[in-house]
Amino acid sequence: MEKIFKFDETVIRVGIESVDCYDALDQLANTLCNAGYVKRSYVEAIIAREKIFPTGLPTGKYGVAIPHADICHVNSSMIAIGILKDPVEFKNMGNIEDTVSTKIIFMLAMNNSENQVKLLSAFMGNLQDQELLKNLAEAKNVHSVIKLIDGKIKF
């Protein structure tokens, strides 16, 4: 049977003010940690990983980053969403010389469930939806983010 991924509004943040991408990652990872989805070690892991393997995706007008860390730092799977007040530069996942001006962060906390590939695949399908990305980038509060994204990941 088809499942629908349930987002958690306690790990959705809108209007994050950050000096750079690492600051934004630190804030959002701490949100995940405080909600219990990840271990304390996740916060450092996600920043360390971003420095070696950046995750900015050139998704068109509205850049997206999909930071993630190894499964050992995760308690239970969740996708946190951070909408930045002003875009910050992430390095391009496929080319470290290039940067992506990013307004939307999907922080993936994945443990090793067998549906993970299906889940990620369904999630990534949404990155092609320019209308959705535009609306997310311009969302004013958590409620509107939930309204936009709820039911979008079927796996």
């Binding site: 070696i52 393997f53 050139p58 998704t59 993630h68 860390a69 499964i71 496929g94 990620l120 990155l127």
Partner: protein, 100 residues
């Protein structure tokens, strides 16, 4: 002939698995027989020697000196969907040009 595609990501939380499946699907649609596997960037040298891929499709940054001369194509289009058909066309064209 079955063409071998190796996708590579930074850590194994399956971003490359997603890209691998998409890439494989699009190459199959282009009439090619494909065997696609994925690995972490830390495993790449070992995987190349065992699997001997025809092409490497990284979704992360991989330095060229680790590729043992195997041609690389960008994997990001298979995640973002942007330029995906063009990327698949380029890989297909290259694979078809390989002689056994």
């Amino acid at each position: 002939m079955v063409y071998k595609v190796l996708t590579v990501c930074g850590t194994g939380i399956a971003t490359s698995t997603v890209a691998a499946e998409k890439c494989k699907q699009l190459l199959l649609e282009r009439g090619l027989s494909i065997n696609a596997i994925e690995c972490k960037v830390s495993e790449i040298e070992g995987k190349i020697s065992v699997f001997q891929p025809h092409v490497i499709v990284p979704t992360t940054i991989v330095s060229d000196n680790k590729l043992c001369g195997i041609k690389k194509f960008p994997g990001l289009p298979f995640i973002t969907g942007i330029g995906m058909d063009k990327a698949a066309d380029e890989i297909a064209e290259y694979l078809k040009s390989i002689k056994e």
